[in-house]
Symmetry: C2
Subunit: 316 residues, 2 copies
């Protein structure tokens, strides 16, 4: 059995080129994809192993850059053809992306293949992909101590039963407000959360864009504000980098679902801090196109915003 860092995270999802129009400007074929954002964000906290697929048009230099920062890219298959390409836009309401076109390309026939090292990962994050693929990953891993997943409208409406099967097998679900309403068939956030918590996950995080995030656990509700920034350039990847920092925070603290049972108060408190870490990371992501801001982000900046955000909710 491969020796494993007890704080590492296995993640499966998309690597992509994005073409994006926002009120602040346009970016043509820039690097994107859920596990790209997730793993860069998470790597500030913990070692990451990525499983995914790219075409032969994907820059080797980026894979090299990832591998230089605790991100194991050996699980990224490079196959003949073009990389997944997403074209989207945002109007003044930066909280919601409009998909203009999606070219799955090599992603269309993607089948996650896990190595022995991947299979022993202590923490697993299933990014927003086909729930059938999410389950294929869960069928391959041995006994992760913590499993989290994301999803989106496309799967909620397109593969509801497959998604519900995934949900029965995860500890943490992270979705945005609109997705929570669609998944629960409710239009109130408390009622939506109640329904979703009956579907399997014991922890639910509802992301609310510029308004922050809500965390639901057995101990109740935590409401985290977004870290406010003066200039939002591109919200793409905010949710994925939120999840990356949150899961990275949990992995760094080496907490798994056991803690939810042995010490639910401590579990709840660590989750609260993890959600704040997610909010802080997302605030950097939106300050530039692609993950340009994350690539030049320094630890000191991260710590400064974390402390500032805590002050913004502190009562004396």
């Amino acid at each position: 059995m491969t020796k494993h860092d007890s704080s590492s995270i296995l993640t499966v999802g998309s690597l992509a080129f994005d073409t994006i129009q926002t009120p602040a400007g346009k970016a043509e074929s820039v690097l994107g994809g859920s596990v790209n954002y997730f793993s860069i964000a998470a790597s500030f906290y913990a070692p990451i192993e990525v499983v995914g697929v790219v075409g032969d048009d994907f820059p080797q230099s980026h894979l090299q850059w990832l591998s230089e920062r605790r991100i194991d890219v050996s699980g990224i298959q490079i196959v003949r053809g073009k990389t997944f390409h997403w074209v989207g836009s945002y109007d003044q309401n930066l909280n919601e992306a409009k998909t203009l076109s999606t070219a799955l390309n090599v992603f269309e026939t993607f089948q996650p293949q896990l190595t022995e090292k991947h299979k022993n990962a202590p923490t697993v994050f299933l990014a927003n992909i086909d729930p059938v693929l999410q389950q294929s990953v869960l069928n391959q891993v041995h006994a992760p101590g913590l499993v989290a997943c994301d999803s989106m409208n496309f799967w909620i409406t397109g593969k509801p039963n497959e998604l519900k099967e995934t949900l029965r097998r995860v500890d943490i679900l992270s979705v945005n407000e609109g997705e929570a309403f669609l998944l629960s068939n409710e239009n109130n956030i408390l009622r939506a959360a109640k329904r979703i918590l009956q579907m399997g996950p014991s922890v639910l995080i509802i992301k609310r864009g510029e308004y922050g995030a809500m965390l639901f656990t057995s101990r109740g509700l935590f409401i985290a504000p977004a870290y406010p920034v003066e200039s939002v350039i591109d919200p793409t990847g905010a949710g994925d980098s939120f999840a990356g920092a949150m899961m990275g925070y949990l992995a760094q603290a080496k907490v798994h679902r056991d803690l939810a049972h042995s010490d639910p108060d401590q579990w709840d408190q660590i989750l609260r801090r993890a959600v704040l870490a997610g909010c802080v990371m997302a605030s950097f992501t939106v300050e530039d196109f692609s993950f340009h801001r994350l690539k030049r982000l320094e630890n000191a900046e991260l710590v400064a915003r974390q402390n500032a955000l805590i002050q913004m909710i502190r009562l004396g």
Copy 2:
């Protein structure tokens, strides 16, 4: 000089009939108006003096009910004619009201006339009325220790210079997010706040509907979540009752602008609690039409939600 309770609040604004359509139903000619909501909410914390005007169609029984709960209604003029009547509706986005018609009626010729008792009020809240009338009140009062005001799009666009004159004379401004953008000519909340704080108020509260409120002081930013409720029936009056509880909380604590100079940290901390009290009060207001929910609200319920809301932002 009339003896004065040092915690009382003088407020000037509208008393009205409202006809309201929301996704939850319709209410025909129910009691409303900014100072009605404000003073009922504030009366949970402090004695209130109301200056306003109603027509002879206004129910005497309501004035009687107000006067039974620390609300001095002697400043409410009853004149021949009809009471102000607002007709509005909300679609699924309950954060924004659409005005269908406004019949000012007796409010059209309203001129606030303050008695000696009113003039000595230690705290003044100028509800959302013509900024010329707001200044007329400020010209009559002697030396209030704290002055706050509200406004709305109608005055921001219709009487910008008059409103700016009012702003130079107040300590606290409370507006909603859209109004803050309009007033500052900015579309980012941090930049909007910076601009507005240069216009006069040293404290700015930006209300964000179901997402809570932001408080800006010289000590920085506090972000308060709304208290989430399972059923929102009618958001009318949420902002006014928010302001009522917030100002009531400050009046009860007997804090004035002096404290901002002598102990800015304590001032900031008391304001944070006051904003949370505002969020809690608003959460009750929206649970029914008119102020039906506030009229049956008990102190124990208020305290329970305050404690619960504090738990929702607490870090261990």
